[in-house]
Amino acid sequence: MIRINDLHKSFGQNKVLQGINLHIQNGETLTIIGQSGSGKSVLLKHILGLIRPDRGSIIVDGVDICGSSEAELNNIRRKFGLLFQAAALFDSLTVAQNVSFGLERYRDLSPKELQKRVKETLAMVGLREIEQLMPHELSGGMKKRVGLARAIAYEPEIMLYDEPSTGIDPIRADAINELIIKMKQEFRITSVVITHDMISAYKVADRIAMLYNGKIVAVGTPEELRKSDNQIVQQFIHGRAEGPIKEW
């Protein structure tokens, strides 16, 4: 259970988050939609304690992330897997070393088990025989999938996906949707998925939240959002240039 209460964050004059309130239930998949630059990635990084808020709190299973020391955060972070928007692979390490990075630290495995687990995880994201490649030898979509493998390898309880389908072809993007659904069904994983892709949002989400002007302006099931009479939501989910959202 993640409770985000009245979260504020500014970078200089740029007020990015202006009072976010959001509760995420165990085992649910919550999708966050919103324009580019609206602060979705910033919000996600707050949940992991990578950015400290100016005000507000984030409670994960009863522990306040914002008031925790680095050592405490380190313990909390093993519950989480984060897929970065730009993959953020370690460019001095091979694919295999990248995927096993969290595994080595969070699980106690023999080198043989480790190798097996790396292979299995890569297969889950549809990648084979690339263990010894370096990140610069991969395409953008492959990097993203290696980033996903790295995050799910140690079987976290909560997965945070930052635009999992951006930069990936539609077929593979749908395979990732399937993976998100499968992880939820088989492992009861709680997921937060950031996306612009409404097809993906409808497919994976139990609930959808829309971030606009630093606040959550709407939250509900896909069906509720589709029927919402909020014009901001309607403009976004139908992808219209005309409407209350003027700046783009």
């Binding site: 992991l48 990578l50 380190n74 972070r77 970065f84 730009a86 790295r150 995050a151």
Partner: protein, 261 residues
């Protein structure tokens, strides 16, 4: 009228000193903590040590040569023909206590300090530092601690190596100039003390820490794109070089001239 000096605020400097101090403290703690990042540490030993050999060989050789040249001229001109052989201990003292530690420090700052700032800075702007945190690896333990320990060990090792190169080159210069090699050697061995060499190595160890901490600090502070990385790299070299030169004077001043009794 507002003085421009005001914008160069004192508390900004204090804040930066605080940041460096904190980073140094946390690094020191992490050097002693287990598990250690042995693989990275060994890589860094190679990067700092082995890959600096050529640069250090050249600077030490020519540092030794030019120092020998001026000492020779000095003795020749002011004391007289035949006295040049007394230059041996002076050259060795100057090289081991001051010139070689400084030259090696500046060279490693240029070669390794800049690379650290660039590498860690690139990791920062491409979110690899955030990725380290998310995967349970503290960047200070994973990146800064092994680099600092490697520099602390390797800069003195390079300095000792540079001492030998410098002294040998100075010796051959003097022999080439017709100085009596027996007298030159005997004087050198008679007056050069172990402590002179050790003092230089201790300073070199401190320079190593300065190089790694300043390079890592600038790397971790990097913001913006490639431009930011460029800025961090330049700053790392300039700041650590200046600190090395200033610190060298004060260390030389406070270090006892000889050890013991």
């Amino acid at each position: 009228m507002t003085l421009p000096i005001k914008s160069f605020s004192f508390h900004l400097i204090l804040q930066q000193v605080g940041e460096v101090g904190l980073l140094f403290g946390r690094t020191t703690i992490n050097i002693f903590r287990k598990p250690r990042e042995t693989k990275i540490f060994i890589q860094q030993l190679e990067e700092v040590g082995v890959r600096s050999l050529l640069v250090v060989s050249l600077t030490a050789a020519f540092g030794g040569l030019v120092f020998a040249l001026q000492t020779y001229i000095g003795f020749h001109r002011y004391i007289g023909v035949g006295s040049e052989a007394y230059g041996g201990p002076i050259i060795s003292l100057g090289l081991t206590k001051e010139l070689i530690p400084i030259l090696v420090g500046l060279m490693v700052a240029g070669r390794v300090g800049s690379a650290m700032a660039a590498e860690i800075g690139t990791m920062k702007i491409t979110e690899q530092i955030d990725a380290l945190y998310s995967l349970g690896a503290d960047p200070i333990r994973y990146l800064v601690a092994p680099r600092t320990l490697a520099c602390f060990i390797m800069v003195p090792v390079l300095t000792l190596y540079g001492d030998i190169i410098g002294i040998v080159c100075a010796y051959f210069f003097n022999v080439g100039m017709g100085v009596n090699r027996i007298v030159y050697l005997r004087n050198t061995l008679l007056y050069l003390e172990l402590w002179d060499v050790l003092g230089g190595l201790i300073k070199a160890g401190i320079f190593g820490i300065v190089i790694a901490i300043i390079g890592s600090w600038q790397g971790l502070k990097t913001e913006g794109g490639a431009e930011g990385v460029g800025r961090a790299t330049t700053r790392a070299v300039v700041i650590s070089s200046i600190i090395i030169l200033i610190l060298n004077f004060f260390l030389s001043k406070v270090m006892p001239e000889r050890l013991g009794i």
